[in-house]
């Protein structure tokens, strides 16, 4: 390595992420929902540390990692760290837990191909295809990095652009997982199988956990956006990590808009929404050691130079126009901007989806998507639009009661809102299992079973049952649900013994009926809700692929909060809007029908009047601002 080329671009004194960079621990974990800018923040941190003379390794475990893209590198897959060009002493390693899980699966199954019948081989493969196997495979890679003396000797800092889940951490912390219970148990557990089979020594796990909990060496960095839903998610993560004794936490609020002196209505409204969200910070976030605020950039920083520029932004007077000019024309030339906005976005209106649902007669509408993409709002807007047509509608939601009241406190008489509490449903299911299956276990085994029941599948199964009961009660109505089971859950239910016996047992009749309805495209329409950004699109594509495993396909995609569908002329927002086109095109290619595109709204759409903006007829004055 030579230090010649990068000296000019080195960040002398970063102006963002200053708290994160002030006194960094050896291990830095960045955690946050998809699309919050976790990878960019991790990459910028790694570059700043390397530029300060530290030896840094940055680790990604995202199978669809954009770390290579962020660093403008080619392929960085492979187990060995690769030097990042242009940065002295920064290396990147991209771990693919899905590949690690697949490798493990093949090691188990391979010898039996052609030996056992095909359906037996397939059942083994499916068994080893769950999220727990992948999760544990990812954690295994963390363990190696956290406990390998060679890593500690080679690098001053290891930056992870992801963090292990609470479920994995709790599971591995349970002593019962290591007492030989696995080899002899008759109770059986879901996630511990992969733990044992993937095979790290118990001491490695214990050492890794101790490292994660040591505030002198590990910091958990929560990355979020200045939006209420994203901040709520960060608060939840902060709380979970605290309960796991990982108390060294810092917060990054990424993408704060500087509206400045702009007269742009969208920009002013957005800045107002952000300020409101940040003013109402949850108490769980009061414990964080620091809050770094990162301004919204015209484009996600790409390449080492782009990341360095983001770390030390030029004063706000000069810079924004320059990179933007090439994209949108001069900021002053606002007269040309509206022509390329709003109505030119490819896709249909949400009301077109409502038309199709209404015409098909009573049935199910499920909105599906990762947290924070707006699936509750979309579900509520569709339910309200159906009700406004005089149809009998039930809106069923898993959102917290307070949120539902916020979204639609004033439903019309022909719209019934039912709330399902996933926590209560899961608790009921868990108590039932522990009282029956757990009754003959010793304390350690019961702990293990109880943790197993906290896996995401358990909640999905419990909620599925609650939905089934609710839907059975709503026969003849239009039922809109703000979540949908994953393909994994459906496969799991499909093959369960209880379903195989459905003819003999009345207990699961509603679930069996719902199961039948889901596969009838005339009766059920699944809407995949996403944002026109890289990570949310990739996550939604993964959900679609997962559904396909269970033989289901979404009716269409719904793109929420599209800046491209507004007429903003604010330079930063306009540039972000233009970058949406790439993702809108990808969505259009993935969606079975032209996607419904909802423009970003100046106000959080709450209440009947607010929600009706989402399905309003296109009579609003063209090319002014966003509807509303």
């Amino acid at each position: 390595m030579t230090s010649a080329p990068e000296s000019t671009g080195t960040v002398a004194r970063p102006e963002i992420l200053t708290a994160v960079l002030a006194n960094p621990t050896r291990y830095l974990f960045f955690t946050g929902k998809g699309g919050v800018g976790k990878t960019s923040c991790a990459a910028a941190t790694a570059i700043a540390l390397a530029d300060a003379g530290r030896r840094v390794l940055i680790v990604s475990t995202d199978p669809a990692s954009n770390l290579a893209e962020v660093f403008a590198m080619g392929d960085v897959t492979g187990s060995a760290p690769v030097a990042v060009p242009g940065v002295v002493s920064l290396a990147v390693v991209n771990i693919d837990p899905a590949a690690a899980a697949a490798h493990y699966r093949e090691r188990v199954v391979g010898p039996y191909r052609g030996v056992l019948p095909a359906d037996a081989v397939a059942s083994i493969e499916e068994e080893l295809s769950g999220s727990c196997t992948v999760e544990v495979a990812a954690f295994n890679e963390f363990v190696t990095l956290l406990t390998d003396p060679a890593v500690a000797a080679t690098y001053d800092h290891v930056v992870f652009d992801t963090a292990p889940t609470g479920h994995t951490l709790r599971l591995l912390a349970l002593p019962a997982a290591w007492t030989g219970f696995l080899a002899t148990n008759t109770a059986g557990v879901t996630c511990v199988g992969p733990v044992s089979a993937l095979g790290q020594a118990q001491e490695s796990y214990a050492g890794a956990l101790a490292t994660l909990r040591d505030p002198a060496v590990t910091t958990m960095i929560l990355v979020t956006r200045p939006e209420a839903s994203a901040l709520a998610e960060a608060a939840r993560a902060a709380h979970e990590l605290r309960t796991l004794a990982m108390t060294q936490q810092r917060l990054i609020v990424n993408g704060v808009l500087a509206a400045g002196t702009s007269a742009d209505v969208v920009a002013l409204a957005r800045a107002g929404r952000e300020a409101d969200a940040l003013a109402a910070l949850a108490p769980e976030l009061a414990h964080v050691l620091s809050v770094d605020t990162v301004p919204l950039l015209a484009r996600a920083p790409l390449g080492v130079a782009g990341l360095r520029a983001a770390l030390a932004p030029a004063p706000p007077d000069a810079p924004l126009g320059a990179p933007l000019a090439a994209v949108t024309g001069a900021p002053g030339a606002a007269t040309t901007a509206p022509a390329t906005t709003g109505r030119d976005v490819p896709g249909v209106a949400l009301r077109d989806v409502v038309d199709a649902v209404a015409a098909a007669g009573p049935g199910l509408v499920l909105t599906m998507g990762k947290g924070g993409v707006g699936k509750t709002t979309v579900a509520a807007a569709i339910a309200l639009a159906l009700a406004d047509r005089g149809l009998p509608v039930s809106l069923t939601t898993t959102d917290p009661a307070a949120h539902v009241d916020d979204v639609l406190p004033d439903p019309p008489a022909n719209l019934t809102i039912t709330r399902i509490d996933p926590v209560a449903e899961t608790a009921r299911h868990t108590a039932h299992v522990l009282a029956t299956a757990g009754s003959h276990l010793d304390a350690a085994a019961r702990d293990l079973l109880a943790e197993d029941l906290r896996s995401p599948c358990t909640e999905e199964v419990a909620v599925f049952h609650a939905f089934a009961r609710t839907i059975a009660d709503a026969a003849g109505r239009y039922v809109v649900i703000d979540t949908a089971p994953t393909g994994h859950t459906l496969l799991l239910l499909q093959s369960s013994a209880a379903f195989a016996r459905q003819g003999q047992s009345g207990a699961d009749a509603p679930a069996a009926t719902l199961f039948g309805s889901l596969s009838d495209p005339e009766h059920t329409r699944i809407l995949l809700v996403a944002l026109a950004e890289a990570t949310p699109v990739h996550e939604a594509q993964a959900l679609q692929a997962d559904l396909a495993r269970a033989g289901l396909a979404p009716f269409t995609w719904v793109v929420d909060s599209s800046l491209a569908a507004t007429a903003t002329t604010h330079p930063v927002l306009r540039a972000r809007a233009d970058q949406e086109s790439r993702w809108l095109a990808e969505i259009a290619a993935s969606s079975p029908r032209p996607p419904a595109v909802i423009g970003w709204l100046p106000e959080v759409p709450t209440g009947a009047a607010g929600l009706r903006q989402l399905t309003a007829p296109p009579t609003a004055a063209p090319a002014t601002t966003a509807r509303g």
Partner: protein, 128 residues
């Protein structure tokens, strides 16, 4: 000593934790095996996804798999003889095969009711 070998389908949990409901047959069967073990019977239990080698090594089980696929599971082998396929046997069947005096408290429970067919594991179509 009598040996009872159970060959479970590729399920992630023998309790049915992941299914639509906890399967009482699975919990009951697990308890039955505990009871048999307490009577001095050697119990060996293998799950397809975790120990496929044992399914291949046992010629009777392998032949049953070749004939009908995973519908053959669960399979129960007692002292080398294949006693049942595709269902979890009731306690009185188990005790008869193992030559253990049946427990009187279960006298009223018809075998047909508790020997329900298993189409797959509780999570057979996808582990959690």
């Amino acid at each position: 000593m009598v040996t009872v070998e159970v060959f479970d389908p590729a399920m992630c949990c023998t309790t049915g934790v992941c299914g639509t409901d906890v399967d009482p047959v699975l919990a009951r069967f697990a308890a039955d095996l505990d009871w048999l073990a307490a009577q001095g019977v050697a119990i060996e239990r293998a799950t397809l996804a975790q120990e496929p080698g044992k399914f291949v090594a046992n010629e009777l089980v392998r032949a049953a798999l070749d004939a009908v696929g995973t519908a053959a599971l669960p399979a129960v082998v007692v002292d080398g003889a294949l006693k049942s396929t595709g269902a979890y046997p009731a306690r009185d069947q188990l005790s008869a095969w193992a030559g253990v005096a049946p427990v009187t408290t279960l006298a009223g429970l018809p075998a047909a009711m508790s020997a329900l067919p298993m189409a797959g594991g509780c999570c057979g179509g996808g582990s959690c």
